[in-house]
Symmetry: C2
Subunit: 446 residues, 2 copies
């Protein structure tokens, strides 16, 4: 039963492509059950291969999307005589991993000659939970099939090695890229030890993120918006600029989902000049109904000096006072003296204030999605501070000028020729899907 | 053997999507034999169904790409005992159709109980060739499977009906959208009685068609360029603006193809002000080596008055004289008095001069591909004079301003809100493919 595989020196490739139907949001037909033309990545009429069960295990891993953050959302299935006898998915931070959930209430007799499928190798270290690798000892399990190597250097290759040492470990990397994509914030955090930053926007074919009349309309269609809401649920926080807030008054919550965990992300608003304090009454009303609605946590990123000015102002209005005292709204800024660019400033703010954020979020901040407007997105692109871009393109033209990327920011790209830009910015389209009338591209760095 | 199908009232849907691996250029792995992850549209290990043979017939139909224009490029296979005993593809204009080619040198004994597969129903009328439907009479053929209905009203549904009347006709629309896409200029011409106009460009993620430094570099990668050359071969003519010519000196020929028919398209240059006549010596030299190279036909579209001025000028240079007398270069313009917009002007020019063009091309002009620059493309989009867009998007940003669509033309779109634009312009992404590092979208009208 011992599988002869080399577990040494396996590098996690940073550039990969996903099978049709998969995105960084998982297996698309899970979100869109009526999605046409998307078949499973294998012929499911050919019965019950390891690939088949790994695919089912992947679907299991999608159940606790976002609940498990900052842990990966792992799935585990126990299969006996071609039946699933138990299943599990990683619980919330500090609670049980997928294997431990699947093993609850399963007797030694049940496990005898069973096959266990796990999307990620079992942990081997004592963390907030005991090592999962211990679960497999002294059982009469037939085999354990692992779908992907863990990027955590404390675990990587050791989980699978411990199973091999027990004579029951196997690997099958049929869906390893897809598992990596599904847990991409976890993989990036493990490999780069940094906050995961996603950029998301919808644009017309000619690259407009909104029309020049500022009349608010969705650019992308219904399926795209559903997917975007799913991403909101998956990431820990979402951020928009105050310009977008005062133009659109977005709710920034999660709607239109069948699979809802009721886990709204933290709302973050980049408002360096504290424009929120000088809103007129009409704006205040809309804000309270939408973006600042009760029951959701909001973090404003402001400039230190401007914030102090507001706080110490003697002519403070009731609205300003309420904002400052509302215990669902937190104002944070960067205390350092360096002059920073926009994206850099935001990242330093988040790093400096992580205990406040932990308090609001209930767990460490692992991932954030920047949703607009075009100035904020352009800053993150130009400063190269991002890990993935989710770009929705709708099949029409707008012909405007005001809401294009790089249209109102320092144009550092203008110093480059195409050749230089191509060499400087090594991006890769890792996933693509047609969502309703729109095209989705998911682009990562090489 | 009579198949009970209704052939009445079958509308040719104008909005459709293609199976993975298919584009309007056909089956992609035909162009890129090493293309990974693209499997045939059916399981070819399950032996020899009608779908399997229709797929093989489709591949046969790709052999005479562009040679058959303005006829559709149809494929025909004759199969007996699971072997192909004969095959054919439509020959050049005025010559034999696919069925007639496949039937040559095939005996009555061979045909007995054979299965015939055709991508398009056989013609039933006397044209430049006798009706193909006659071929099937008084033979002992087992069945004839037709993959798509002909859009030509003289033929539509009658070819298949004649086969049904013989007791051997069947339809199988498994690949009918793909067959329609492969012969899209023919279908549009039949349905709308107009010149087929394709737009093609490559852009960065932020919608730049070139960098602002005008330093010439390819935006798209090698696979995209191969596909673009394949499209050049497939369409009858390609057109660029004189600005692009004098900036890039493109060869506008066909390169980088394995499947080359040595059928260069007609080169057309939109040069309303006759800039070609005032080139300096350096430009003249480059033009003669590249865009105006010997052996290829070139048509310049100029303004009538400006052209007359040049022709009658007494200080005509040798270069100008050579241009005017070069029998590979034709200057055409619109003789009418109406003031027309750019795209409209070009289309009227082509309609007015179709006998000159026929003379250059050797057959009627059915299709043209507009390749740039951004001004010319923007005109065709704004005036709504196009049938398909082939858009290549490379995964990087340029951040420029000068080479974006609509950046230097009358901004009629600015009068619309997004909602209006969405309703006015009903486009549909009919095909999508990842070509190397780039994303290809093929967009048609609904």
């Amino acid at each position: 039963m011992l599988t002869n595989i080399s577990t040494k020196g396996r590098q996690l490739k940073m550039s990969f492509s996903l099978k049709k139907g998969f995105t960084f949001g998982g297996w698309l037909p899970h979100l869109f059950p009526n999605m046409e033309n998307i078949y499973p990545p294998l012929d499911t009429t050919i019965s019950h291969s390891d690939e088949y069960w790994l695919f089912r295990t992947f679907l299991e891993s999608m159940k606790n999307a976002s609940i498990s953050n900052p842990n990966p959302s792992v799935g585990c299935l126990i299969v006996k005589n071609n039946n699933i006898i138990s299943s599990g998915c990683t619980e919330s931070w500090g609670n049980r991993h997928a294997e431990r959930v699947a093993f609850q209430n399963i007797s030694a007799e049940d496990l005898k000659n069973s096959s266990v499928y796990i999307t990620l190798e079992p942990c081997t270290h004592q963390g907030r939970q005991p090592p999962c690798s211990e679960l497999f000892k002294n059982k009469d399990i037939g085999k354990v099939v692992v779908g992907c190597i863990d990027p955590n250097p404390v675990v990587s290759n050791q989980g699978i090695q411990s199973l091999i040492n027990l004579g029951i470990g196997q690997t099958n990397f049929f869906l390893s890229n897809e598992i990596k994509a599904w847990n991409y914030p976890f993989f990036i955090q493990q490999q780069k030890n940094k906050l995961f930053i996603a950029l998301k926007w919808a644009q017309s074919l000619d690259g407009c993120l909104a029309d020049d009349n500022d009349g608010w309309q969705w650019i992308s269609g219904e399926q795209s918006r559903t997917y975007a809401h799913w991403l909101r649920q998956k990431y820990d926080a979402i951020m928009v600029g105050i310009g977008t807030v005062l133009n659109d008054f977005p709710s920034l919550d999660i709607r239109n989902l069948n699979h809802i965990n009721q886990r709204n992300p933290l709302k973050m608003i980049y408002d360096p000049e504290g424009k929120i304090f000088s809103c007129n009454e009409e704006q205040q009303k809309k804000l309270l109904q939408k973006t600042l609605q009760k029951g959701s946590h909001k973090i404003f990123i402001v400039d230190k000096n401007i914030f102090e000015k507001f706080r110490n102002s003697k002519q403070i209005s009731i609205w300003q006072k309420n904002l400052l005292e509302n215990n669902e709204i937190e104002f944070i800024n960067y205390q350092g003296e360096n002059k920073l660019n926009t994206a850099e400033y935001i990242i330093e703010c988040l790093n400096e204030n992580n205990s406040k954020i932990l308090n609001f979020l209930g767990r460490p901040l692992q991932s954030i999605m920047i949703e607009g407007g075009h100035r904020l997105l352009s800053s993150f692109i130009q400063e190269n501070h991002f890990d993935i871009m989710h770009i929705f393109t709708a099949p029409f033209f707008l012909g405007g000028e005001k809401h294009k990327l790089f249209s109102k920011v320092k144009r550092s790209y203008q110093d480059y020729s195409i050749k230089e830009v191509k060499n400087e910015t090594r991006y890769h389209i890792a996933a693509q899907a047609l969502l309703g009338e729109d095209n989705l591209l998911e682009i990562i760095k090489k």
